[in-house]
Every structure is written in C-alpha cells, then in structure tokens.
Assembly symmetry: C2
Homo-oligomer: 471 residues x 2
C-alpha cells in the first residue's frame, strides 16, 4: 500500500528522530539509509494495513552495534523496529510512530553447529532456507516452515510455526536460547544450550512471540532435527471438510507421528489445480507427510490410508520419490499465489485462527458459510493437525462495501475461534491487525499482566510501539 | 529437619499473620490448621535445608477461596505459599518469612477430559498417578514422570520433567493453559485450549517454572498422549559412562524416538541390585524404553542394540512383557531409596544439573572424580537423552567436615554444568537451595529482568518470598 505518514507525531518526536538519524549517519555511514523507497520497503505490509515507514533504516553488523543504536534511540525516546524479511502478516514491521528500523540483512551468519547436541547458534537475519542449505551436509535440518523464506529472528519474534508444527512444534519449542538487546541497551542471554532447565523464569519463551516489543533479538540457539532417513508424502480426497478433520483427529489419536497434515478445501484445490497444473479432484483434500525409517513411513502411510478409508476418504496415493514429493509440497507452498489467481488484481489477505481440533470442522465449515453469505471469496488451507487454518480473503480494495464486509467477517472469524476455546491467531501474531481481538481473547487481567511486563521492561515504550497493545 | 523459626520477622509481621489467621479461621473453620505438627509437615524439605514452617495451613476448595485468601494476605502483606505434595527438592515449600500455606489436597478434581483434543482440565492438587488412573480407560496418559507422585500444580510450578522428557518434553511443553491467582487476588487465564497460539506474551510459560513467586495455580489444561500400542524396554551394559553417553547421542542423532533413556552408574547399579534384587553387571547401564507400534518398537530396539554394540556395549536385553518392564522401571524409580541404603541412617540429598549432551560424559565423569576426591558417596542416575543427571549425596549431617565438603562439591557441580553451557538445574528448580547459583548462570541482566517481572506482578513480595531470588 501507499505509505501513510504517522498520524500523531509531535514536532518534538520529529526532532528526536532527526537527532538520532544525524548521530547514526555519523557512525554508520552508508549503512544508514533514509531514502523514501527504502523506508517504504521496510514499512511494507502483506495485508491491507497502511504502510507506515520508519524514519530511517540501519543495517547493523553486530550485537554491540544494536546496543549502540538502541541506546541512542532510548536517549531520544525514538522507536526501534526490528526487520527480517518483511514477510509478517499483521503489520509487525510498520512504524506508526516512525523511528529507526534495524534491518538484520547483514547479521546472517551461522555462528556454530553442534551436531552431537542437535543445535546451532545463528544470527537473526539468516533465513530458514539459507540455514537449511548450510545444515544439509551435516544431515540436519531446522523443521519450522512457515511457508515464506522468513528470517529466523522474525520467526522467533512472531512465534511462527507452519506445516511441520504438528510433529516438530513451533518456534516456542525450537528456540533453546536467545540473545536480545533490551530497551536499556543491555544484552540479555535468556538461557544456555541445555535441552531443558528449571532455573528461574522462562525468559526465552517470554521473548519468543513478543514481536519486538520487549527486545531486539540478536542471536538464537536453535534446536535441530536429523534429516529423516525416509519421507513419504501423499494426497487424499475426502467427501467433506468434516471427514478430513475426523481423519486427522483419528490419525493423531492413534499415535501416528505425522510430520505434516494439511487441509485444502475444494476452492483451494481448484486454485491449486489451475496454478500448479495438478489434476486433483476438487473436493476437500489432505496433504500428508511421514518421517521415519523406510519401514516406519510405510507403516504410517498404510495406517493413515486405512483411517482415511474408514471415514469415506481416499484413495490415498503416497509417494516416496523426492521429485513427486517436491511437486506436491511446492503446490501446497504456492497455495497463496494460486488462490490470488482466482481473482487477479485484488488484494489477498491471509488470516489465521486456531481451535481445539474437535471444533475444527465446525469452525471451518461455519467460516466457509459465513464467507459465502458475506459474498467473499476465501479459500481455506489449514495445518489441521494443530487445529490451525488460514482463510485467504481476496478483496477489491476499491470496493468499500466489500472491504467493510471483509472486516466484519474477520472479526467474526476471530470471535468464533475464541468462542470455541481457541485463539485469534495460531501463528501470524497480533501485530497491528489483531490488536482489537486481544482483550476478547485474553480478558482484562491477562492483558493488564502483559502490559505490566511490557512497562517493566520497556518503560519508555520505544520497542516496536503500537504492536500487540494499542498505542 | 527440625523446624527453625523464621529469622528476621518483626513484631509487625507476626501481628499481620495473626490477623490473617483470625480472619481465615472465621471463614474456613477446621480447614484452617495451625498445629505445630501440620505446620512442620508443610515446611518439610527433602534436603538439608532447615524446615521453616508457615504460620498456618489452609485447605481451599475453589479458585474463589484462593482469591479470598490471597486478597486477605495481600491486605496484611503476609506471605502465600502453595503446597501440593511437598516432594520438591530445593526447599520450594518452605516459609522463611512465615505466612499462609495453601494446601491443594482438596482441589484434586479432573474437570474435563477432551479425548479428541488430547487434553484435560484439572485442579492443581491431583497427583500424576491419580490423573493417569483416571485417564487409563480412555486410552490416554499424561507422560511427565518426575519419579515422585507429585501434584500437577507443583510439577507445573517447578517446571518438572523426568524419565519421559526426552520424547514427550517437560511441563513447559505439556501445559496448554493455566488459571492462577495473582498477588492482587485477580484470576489470570493464560491461554485457551488451542494447541498453539501467537497471540500476545506467553504467560503460560511465564507461570510454569515460576515456583509460586508470580501466582498460585488453581487450574491446569494439560496436553495428553495416547497410550502407546506397544512398549518395549530393556537394559544395556556399557564399559564406561562415556560409551553409554555416546550410545545415547547416536540414538538420538539417528532419529530413534526413544521414550526413556536412563543412565545408572556402576555405584547406582550396585545399590539397585541390592535393593531391588536385580543381578545386573555392576557397570554403567542404560535403561531404555520405546513406544510405538509392535513393528516400530521392534525396529527401534534392534537399531538401539546395534548402536550399543558399535560402542562396545551390550548385550541389549529387551522385553515387551508388562511385568518385566514394570520390574525394571520400578527399580529405576526406587533408585533414590536404593542409593540411600548404601549408607543407612544418613541424609540423602538429590541434586541435578543439565548440560548439552556432547558434554555429558565429561560432566558426569569429572563429577564422579570430584566426589571421590571429596570423599563423598554419590551415585549417579541420569535422564541422559536430555543431558540431565542427578547425583545423590549421602551425607552424615553430624559430620560438619563432610557437610562442608558436600556443600563445596555441590557448588562446583553447578559451576561445572554452567561452564559447559548448561544449567544448575534441569528439573528440580531453584527454590532456596540453588539461589546462590542463579547470578552465575544467568548473569546480571537476565536476573534483573526476572526481578523486574517479579516486582511488576508482585510488588508487595507476598508470593512465595525467598524463593528463586534471595530475600
């Protein structure tokens, strides 16, 4: 979207930003950029939230530089916004009060790989694909795959997850320790490399998912997994979303350690057929993947096939050939682009909610009905093993009536998920887009507790202000 | 140990406690107990830390009663100590400043079991064995097994784990949501039942492991697992601790989803042979367990046997018969009692540390050498899949010299673990016993951050004061 100037900035705030920029320019030379194009690029949102660019972008190369920058910002009370790849979905990198964006492009090194311990130490700017390239020769991989080739720092900050989470967990489970620069400019080390600890408060999990509002992550220690000996993938059609969800429940209840289990509704299957040149039947479909030994993935695939059949689904076609798997999962990864092609030229807006799996079919089908009744085109893809699904709204932004219907639909979607004992976001985070649902989901006491923590750690409110909590 | 009166209590503090007790007696009748015996029982420590009894013990029956009690305590600035089964190992339930102990004996109900969602909602006083009894008919179990039949509230408060953690994680991973009464008397709900969420700060993980210093847990939503279709267990001797640790590393690197992998050193094997009437060779020994289908546990067992052999260990004897398994794991569970019998009449003191698994053999063997050089009898048992091990010091408390040597040994053990990028406690928590290691492990910035959170949520310092942080 076109950039919008921060609405409520005083002359004093502008002067403070100018003072910080002058000092940063002297210290960082051409690593400090204030051009309109670069600023706008860093306020980019993948949604309909307006672009609110920072006053300047700086490219730090070390934790000490981040400390220096944050101290300077703290001195002048200027906002600090951390930036990885800009692929967050709820306006997390926007700068509603202006300020300094720290782009971690240059802090993208792998500092250590400890193969015996199945962990690595990295800088926040490395992307998950680059990390996995680096790890492949060691027989290791980092399993969290949110779709986008996001930076690991950003993934930690938003508590990202994705297709593998049903087996490998989310960023919450796969970050062992963090280094972060606090609002004071001090560096916190949240933990060491032990796989578990009962020593003091869990500062790692406090920073993970805090969306840059408590500190800027400058180093991560990640838990790794061994690349599985064998992988089997397949697709399985179902007569209804409910049957697909019930098959998922039974699969997990049976203890089948499914690595991925993804729902595409009929509309999304049609989109993917068109975009990815597949010939799938246009009915609800599960994409599944199993990791293990040759024998175990064969057994898992067989048992899943039986479950699918029991619930009226199938046939389940599975493949262990890497190229067949790749084609399938490429189509799943391209679901976003495929969906967009259903209505070229409009804005695509991805929203996600997460509910207990027993309520998933009900939540998806009610939401599909709601979308239809609201005359909205919104294909569904879901990480159904976790009860998490996305609706991709395809919106003509020039149609005010349609925008209004979409906004009301999204509010009902969040409320529906919370009413089913779920959450308004399973993996995208709150950012700016979902701040309005926070109180309804958590209640006043929890929200006040979050605010108390925020205030204790960032009394000047300089760390990514205007995110999670309203300004 | 004999009770010790709180050292630094003013007349004002005593009067405040008396006022709270009078009010509680009026409201709770015989559910408020002030007898010396009951008070001492609630200040009981399983270590050499002195017993510091609370001023009174109250047995709440509902969250609202806990709110009422906490509000009364807050009004008079009287400490609140939550009590489950009193099996914590670092003095967590002691009352160094007196105050009111809340014994959750009567809040032990299972409020809901959601079999399709693999979760349940419980009150904090239920013990893990009672919960698993309740769940068995549904084909479900709660996998965290710290050895003691502890209450789930206490296990969450200390971030407990135990033998199954290598596969199923710790309390951090298996608590989906909590209700807790804060120092203000308000009730916080940390999350709903969705399997994952990116909505706001992770208050669940903040409360888990906070040892009652941020709030009193009154309800837990736990993640459950299906009882595995097949279980195989076995024991495997190794020529050295190093060989056993290397076999563990290779097992995990190979992606074998071992459910339990426990090290007993030669001294512990001797103790267990005597106590549990086993005839194991008195060398380092791994006790392992595999969960899965019949085919998969057979495959896992075979592969583990091959790894063991490769590292000079074996033969690996494995059993799938429930009674053979039970005998084996009973012996493992009885390791504490078995070790105590090595030197009857003395104090047994269990300390635990956790290091990256690549440093485990080194940490264990250095600690064994250190114990020998310090003339201390200290058998080792370890949850080696996590790099976590226990040394059970058998100490004659009447021998001041020996007590001094043990204290110095424990400090070196903690420092050694931290120096190896580990933690001074993998699962027992900080309590009173390990407060002195907190700064060395976390550093000043992290410790100040923890204190800032504590102060923000409990400004009067009434929630389990004198734990984690020094008074």
């Amino acid at each position: 979207m076109a950039p919008v100037e921060a609405p409520q900035r005083s002359t004093q705030e502008r002067n403070a930003a100018a003072a910080v920029i002058a000092a940063l320019a002297a210290r960082y030379g051409n690593r400090l950029v204030t051009s309109q194009a670069v600023r706008e690029q860093h306020g980019h949102t993948t949604t309909w939230i307006d672009n609110q660019p920072p006053d300047a972008v700086v490219f730090p190369q070390a934790t000490e530089e981040v400390q220096d920058i944050v101290r300077l910002c703290a001195k002048h009370r200027v906002p600090v916004v951390a930036f990885g790849t800009g692929t967050s979905l709820e306006g997390q990198v926007n700068a509603p009060r202006g300020g300094i964006c720290l782009d971690f492009r240059d802090m993208n090194r792998v500092l250590a790989v400890h193969a015996e311990d199945l962990d690595c130490v990295i800088e926040p700017g490395i992307t998950r694909k680059a990390l996995n390239e680096h790890l492949r020769d060691r027989g290791l991989f980092f399993p969290i795959d949110p779709g986008a080739d996001a930076s690991l720092g950003g993934m930690a900050a938003t508590r990202a997850s994705g297709t593998n989470a049903v087996r490998y967990g989310t960023m919450k489970d796969n970050v062992l320790a963090l280094k972060a620069v606090l609002a004071s400019g001090e560096v916190i080390t949240t933990a060491h490399r032990a796989k578990k600890s009962s020593s003091g408060y869990d500062l790692t999990r406090l920073i993970v998912g805090s969306e840059g509002t408590l500190g800027v992550i400058t180093e991560l220690t990640l838990r790794l997994s061994g690349i599985p000996e064998a992988i089997a993938s397949g697709v399985c059609p179902f007569p209804s979303v409910e049957a697909a969800c019930n098959a998922t429940i039974l699969t997990i209840q049976s203890g089948i350690p499914v690595a991925r289990i993804e729902l595409l509704d009929a509309l999304q299957v049609r989109a993917s057929n068109l975009y990815s040149k597949l010939t799938l039947p246009e009915v609800p479909m599960l994409f599944v993947e199993f990791h293990g030994t040759e024998a175990s993935v064969a057994e898992q695939s067989q048992r899943f096939g039986e479950i699918a059949q029991e619930l009226g689904g199938g046939p389940f076609d599975w493949a262990t050939r890497a190229e067949d798997r790749s084609r399938l999962w490429q189509a799943r990864h391209d679901a976003y682009w495929a969906a967009q092609r259903l209505r070229p030229g409009v804005q695509a807006l991805s929203s996600d909610v997460c509910v207990p799996i027993s309520r998933l079919a009900e939540c998806v089908t009610e939401s599909q009905r709601d979308a239809a009744a609201s005359r909205l085109l919104a294909p569904v893809v879901g990480h159904v093993g976790d009860g998490n699904f996305h609706m991709l709204l395809l919106i003509d932004r020039n149609d005010a009536d349609e925008v209004g219907r979409a906004e009301e639909f999204l509010a009902r979607l969040a409320e529906r998920a919370v009413a089913m004992d779920g959450t308004c976001t399973g993996e995208h985070g709150i950012g700016q887009g979902k701040m309005k649902y926070l109180l309804g989901e958590h209640g006043a006491v929890a929200l006040e507790t979050m605010r108390a923590i925020k205030h204790a750690l960032d009394p000047l409110d300089i760390m990514n202000p205007g995110k999670i909590f309203s300004l």
